[in-house]
């Protein structure tokens, strides 16, 4: 909680970005995000109401914020589009404990880092997504355990991709 508070302060003081402040649709998004946690023991790659789990999109951008928090982590990435404009993507990961078991560390991703992320994008066209793979500039690849079964959660990621798996977002 404290971490989020500080991030808020930091951003309100030092980051200026042209981001619309919408105030609706929060609840639905939160529920979809929680579904990602609940789905752990379901078959891998089920679909959620909010995300297109059949689709993988590759975002290339700059990290604005990485929040290591329960019940879910958050990754906010600013993507520069082909037309030169920027777009902010809000991405949800699974929970810190599960991610730590799959090799993630809270310090892996910092504001300002260049990053490539495979995401399951929102179905409604908004720039939201559920994290699948993260490719760090230093070469480390992290796989999000959301949707994995109990054996995989205890056993660690089976397949770690060496390169992005999604359609590049332009």
């Amino acid at each position: 909680m404290r971490a989020i508070y500080w991030q808020n302060l930091m951003h309100s003081e030092s980051v200026t970005m042209d981001v619309p402040h919408k105030r609706h649709g929060k609840w639905k998004f939160a529920l979809a995000a929680l579904a990602a946690l609940w789905a752990q023991n379901a078959d891998a790659h089920h679909s959620f109401a909010k995300f297109n789990m059949a689709k993988l999109t590759t975002l290339t951008g700059t990290v604005r914020e990485f929040t290591w928090a329960n019940p879910h982590t958050w990754l906010i990435v600013v993507v520069r589009k082909a037309d030169g404009s920027t777009e902010q993507w809000s991405l949800v990961g699974s929970s810190p404990n599960m991610m730590a078991r799959w090799g993630w560390n809270a310090g892996d991703i910092k504001s300002g880092d260049k990053i490539v992320v495979d995401v399951h994008p929102g179905l409604d066209g908004r720039p939201i997504g559920s994290i699948q793979n993260v490719f760090l500039a230093k070469g480390k690849v992290l796989v999000d355990p959301a949707g994995s079964n109990g054996q995989a959660l205890a056993g660690g990621p089976v397949k770690v991709p060496t390169k992005p798996q999604g359609q590049p977002y332009k």
Binding site: K22, W27, W38, A69, N70, N97
Partner: protein, 285 residues
């Protein structure tokens, strides 16, 4: 240290212990003072008894079953339960959004993160990481309290039947998350592949009682079979199919803390006011 000195220290220690007992004795009530192994010999015997039990203790246990029970064997429902299920509209929300404690029995269904058993003479503890809660299972031979105060995990008493730990739980809070059934495929919302699709959460009666039978199938597999006693919902006790858990002994499977509330409410830095539930606030910044 010379043998004499050791002896002297032991004697002094014994005297101190005796004085402490003498002081404590008048305050102790018979019903509040369970038998405790006090002497080294009693303690050795108590731990040796533990050592003879099946090894639930090393490593952690990760659920490998789906979160929801599918109630494929139709329960013998009470008229109240039938009516409740007939009128049940699956909510978009779930009873445990916003980090509400799950409680027994659903808390052990969630999986994703493992559970860990600990034991000392007279008590088994079970830490459930997905909820950050710990069950305390009394194995000192006590009976249930006449009126246990309601709690999310209830009052649990365990005993061994051969290699099976039988745990009897009562005293569950009215709002503990309780699955009473599952809608059949034909009445479920189509296209919803969430593991909670069609789950019917409902109320339970004040006398809800759970009997769990926990046993090792082999070193790597723990099985827990739960039978639900609640005559407000089930006319006869309902035996759920067994759930399986696999043992993790690697470092990554060690237990971790789980503080679900850290992303729940927050102080708005602009107004200084407490804002409720913004798991998704990142979305709108």
């Amino acid at each position: 240290m010379s043998p004499n000195r050791v002896h002297r220290q032991l004697r002094t220690g014994a005297l101190v212990a005796l004085s402490a007992l003498a002081l404590a004795a008048p305050a102790a009530r018979a019903d509040d003072a369970p038998a405790v192994a006090r002497t080294p010999e009693q303690q050795a015997a108590a731990w040796q008894e533990i050592a003879r039990q099946p090894d639930f203790w090393q490593g952690t246990w990760q659920s490998i079953n789906p979160i929801a029970d599918d109630f494929s064997t139709p329960p013998d429902y009470t008229p109240f339960a039938r009516d409740y299920i007939a009128k049940y509209k699956p909510a978009e929300d779930s009873p445990f959004t916003n980090c509400k404690p799950l409680g027994m029995p659903f808390v052990q269904n969630i999986g994703g993160m493992p559970m860990k058993f600990f034991q000392s003479p007279g008590m088994i503890a079970l830490y459930i990481e997905t909820s950050g809660m710990t069950r305390f299972i009394h194995t000192d031979g006590r009976q249930h309290s006449e009126m246990p105060n309601p709690s999310y995990l209830g009052e649990s008493i365990g005993h061994w039947e051969g290699g099976t730990l039988v745990v009897d739980t009562t005293g569950l809070a009215p709002d503990t998350v309780f699955q009473i059934g599952r809608l059949t495929n034909d009445v479920r919302v189509q296209g919803d592949h969430s593991p909670l699709a069609g789950v019917v959460f409902g109320p339970h009666g004040p006398n809800l009682r759970l009997v769990e039978r926990m046993r090792l199938l082999d070193f790597n597999t723990l099985e827990i079979q739960t039978t639900i006693y609640d005559d407000t919902i089930f006319k006869s006790p309902y035996a759920l199919p067994p759930r399986k858990f696999i043992r993790g002994i690697e470092r990554r499977n060690e237990p971790q803390e789980w503080a679900c509330t850290d992303n729940r409410d927050y102080l708005d830095p602009d107004t200084g006011k407490l804002e409720v539930n913004v798991k998704d606030k990142a979305q709108d910044r």
